[in-house]
């Protein structure tokens, strides 16, 4: 009897050991690739900048201080770092608008695909993924080619006699939004499609049957049911959008910085690595806070997912 129990316990211990062993490669990668770099960034944000970039190993909160405040170079008075706060706000705003645009464009696109006959759906999905075949930088330059002053749109409008001088689109927030919406649209369409494909169309009929017209069926039946797709798509779009680097760099010119560009600046020309590190962590905190807030609100409204 006790022999049996010992054998069983030994077997269980062996099981547990084996489980850890099998998980080990993934754990090591996670530790080294995720926690490691994060730790380095946290450390750097608390050090003193070196004269030619890099850091001096001396503790300082100056990096974090400069994220939010600026010191006047003449009288040493402290004020808010208006430029940084502007860029934070702009990044959040542009990322939110991008998410909204992709949602508005993505919904009918996903709906179109989800309502095709099952046999042809893979073809449409395949078409949605085609932009991923080309490098992001090249795609962004292609947009530049379309919207610049001597570009496709302006030339067409001038040729048609609608305008006499070109409309300035490049190097504006509009250009950044066009670029980001174009780049991130598939990330919204795919999860939306996934949740629409699962949608029971008899529920739509039930809505019509119970005196809801098309708009009300959309609002009261379809949207609540595809909400998980919206949540997933919004997360997939918002996170890369708020930290976007290539798109604002190429389409926003030097004037319209977003957080990604500001951080890059500190590690490059700015030669202030601690500030760059602190800015990167601030971005991380903004993203995490936004996610928690968003998921909480979304889940509370739909309820069902958490029972």
């Amino acid at each position: 009897m006790s022999r049996a129990r010992e054998t069983e316990q030994a077997a269980r211990r062996r099981d547990v050991r084996l489980r850890w062993l099998l998980c080990a490669p993934a754990l090591v990668v996670l530790l080294l690739a995720a926690s490691g770099p994060l730790l380095i960034v946290v450390t750097y944000s608390l050090l003193t900048p070196g004269n030619f970039g890099g850091v001096v190993w001396q503790f300082s909160l100056e990096g974090w201080f400069r994220v939010f405040f600026s010191r006047d170079i003449f009288d040493d008075t402290v004020g808010f770092a208006g430029a940084h706060l502007d860029i934070f706000w702009r990044s959040i705003r542009l990322a939110l608008i991008t998410t909204l645009i992709t949602a508005i464009l993505g919904f009918p696109t996903a709906w179109f695909i989800a309502t095709r006959p099952p046999a042809t759906r893979p073809i449409w999905l395949f078409l949605v993924t085609i932009p991923f075949w080309t490098n992001l930088v090249i795609r962004t330059f292609a947009i530049q080619e379309v919207i610049r002053n001597e570009g496709l749109i302006n030339n067409l409008l001038r040729w048609a006699g609608i305008i006499s001088s070109p409309i300035q689109m490049l190097y504006t927030d509009f250009a950044i939004l066009v670029g980001m919406a174009y780049v991130f649209l598939p990330l919204m369409v795919l999860p939306l499609f996934a949740s629409m494909e699962k949608l029971d169309f008899r529920l739509v009929e039930a809505g019509y049957d119970l005196y809801a017209n098309r708009l009300r069926v959309l609002w009261h039946v379809i949207l609540p049911l595809v909400k998980p797709g919206f949540i997933a798509g919004s997360i997939l779009v918002f996170i890369p959008a708020i930290g976007a680097y290539v798109t604002p760099r190429i389409l926003g010119g030097g004037r319209n910085l977003m957080l990604g560009n500001l951080i890059e600046l500190q590690f490059g020309q700015g030669r202030n690595w601690p500030l760059g590190a602190a800015l990167a962590l601030t971005l991380l905190v903004i993203v995490v806070a936004a996610l928690i807030f968003y998921v909480r609100t979304a889940m509370r409204d739909s309820g069902g997912q958490r029972g």
């Binding site: 029971d200 008899r202 529920l203 009929e205 039930a206 809505g207 019509y208 049957d209 119970l210 005196y211 809801a212 017209n213 009300r216 009261h220 039946v221 609540p224 049911l225 739909s302 309820g303 069902g304 029972g307």
Partner: protein, 368 residues
């Protein structure tokens, strides 16, 4: 709403429905006409693919007829979208909204009609009481059983007080016992609400027990409309006789006809009295149907005078009754269903020569 008891709630006038186009056209309904009376429990009965669900969807407005008219109390509703028809549906899979509570599901139709909040609340409460679901008002629909979902679906469809309630095989997903319960429940609800029910099913027993009238459908057409008894006892066509219940078909010739009755001479020479549709002349070859319970196995001397004679091939005991399969001389198998009462304790042995006596006035001549 007109209040004459015999008013027609729904009139289907030569409605056709064609799906697909070109070479792939499928005619789901072929010039169907039928009138459904107010406060009636009307059943569309037929095998799958007969067009019964298509007809229901045309009345609900989910599909539009290719041809013909659908009148609701005299008004053509065929071109109206479903949300403008005072008609509600109980779906086969219930189609309850998973993101709403039981109460919200039931109140949805009234809310969409723009009724005041207090009225919606009161109506939802009344509906919950009607289907005996009051304690579950705030549950999610995923947290209740299949039978309860069925009740919620009924309450949701009844809440806006539709002029006609459409039920698309609503009981098919329930187990046997619950189905029996819901059959009684449905009849009660129909009596209490006074709403016209149009019920679609492929289950002949369900149709016979619940309906005021039944329309038997096959390949896009209505073959016969009548009460349960008419359909069962006097099937007009071979399909109807075959689809509903068990039936014996016998070939014969009309020996004489008068007043809707005929004497039919069978192959054996015996003459059987049968109900006769209009337009049949003496001398014509016909098929008659005899229900298994309208015949009796007789042995000995009585067998000599029986309508049919043969050899007992098989006897299957079912508890309440016994099914005898008799190979008729010069013909096929004839089934007799006989109740196992203490009185008729005569046991027939397999291989016995027996006769089959057909009860008077129980045979029916088929139209085709």
């Amino acid at each position: 709403m007109p209040e004459q008891p015999e008013a027609d709630a729904i009139q289907i006038r030569s409605v056709s429905k064609v799906f697909g186009s070109g070479d792939e056209q499928v005619k789901a309904l072929d010039a169907v006409s039928v009138a459904i009376r107010q406060n009636e429990f009307f059943t569309l009965l037929g095998p799958s693919g007969c067009g019964k669900t298509t007809l229901l969807r045309l009345i609900a407005g989910f599909d539009f007829p290719s041809d013909g008219e659908i009148l609701l109390y005299g008004q053509d509703i065929a071109p109206l979208p479903p949300y403008k028809r005072p008609v509600n549906t109980v779906f086969q899979s219930y189609a309850l909204f998973p993101h709403m509570t039981v109460g919200e599901n039931i109140g949805f139709g009234l809310k969409m009609l723009g009724r005041p909040r207090a009225e919606v609340e009161a109506r939802v409460a009344a509906m919950l009481k009607l289907v005996k679901m009051e304690p579950l008002r705030n549950r999610k629909t995923s947290q209740i059983s299949g039978g309860q979902q069925q009740r919620v679906a009924l309450a949701r469809a009844l809440a806006p007080q539709p002029k006609v309630l459409l039920l698309d095989e609503p009981l098919s997903a329930l187990d046997y016992k619950l189905r029996k319960e819901m059959q009684i429940e449905l009849k009660r609800l129909q009596a209490e609400t006074g709403i016209t029910f149009i019920f679609v099913t492929h289950d002949q027993e369900e149709a016979l027990t619940m309906s005021d009238r039944i329309a038997v459908m096959s390949s896009g057409s209505i073959l016969q409309v009548g009460t349960s008894r008419e359909i069962y006892d006097h099937p007009a066509e071979r399909f109807v006789a075959d689809f509903i219940g068990e039936t014996n078909f016998l070939d014969g010739e009309i020996a004489g006809a008068a007043n809707g009755r005929a004497d039919v001479r069978l192959g054996s020479g015996a003459v059987v009295s049968a109900s006769l549709p209009k337009g049949f002349e003496p001398g014509r070859k016909v098929t008659i149907v005899v229900r298994p319970e309208h015949a009796e196995v007789v042995a000995g001397d009585a067998a000599q005078g029986a309508a049919l004679r043969g050899v007992l091939e098989n006897a299957v005991y079912f508890g309440t009754d016994t099914h005898y399969h008799i190979r008729i001389d010069g013909s096929g198998i004839f089934t007799v269903r006989q109740q196992n009462s203490r009185r008729t304790a005569v046991a027939h042995a397999v291989g016995d020569a027996v006769g089959v006596a057909i009860e008077p006035d129980s045979a029916q001549v088929l139209k085709d």
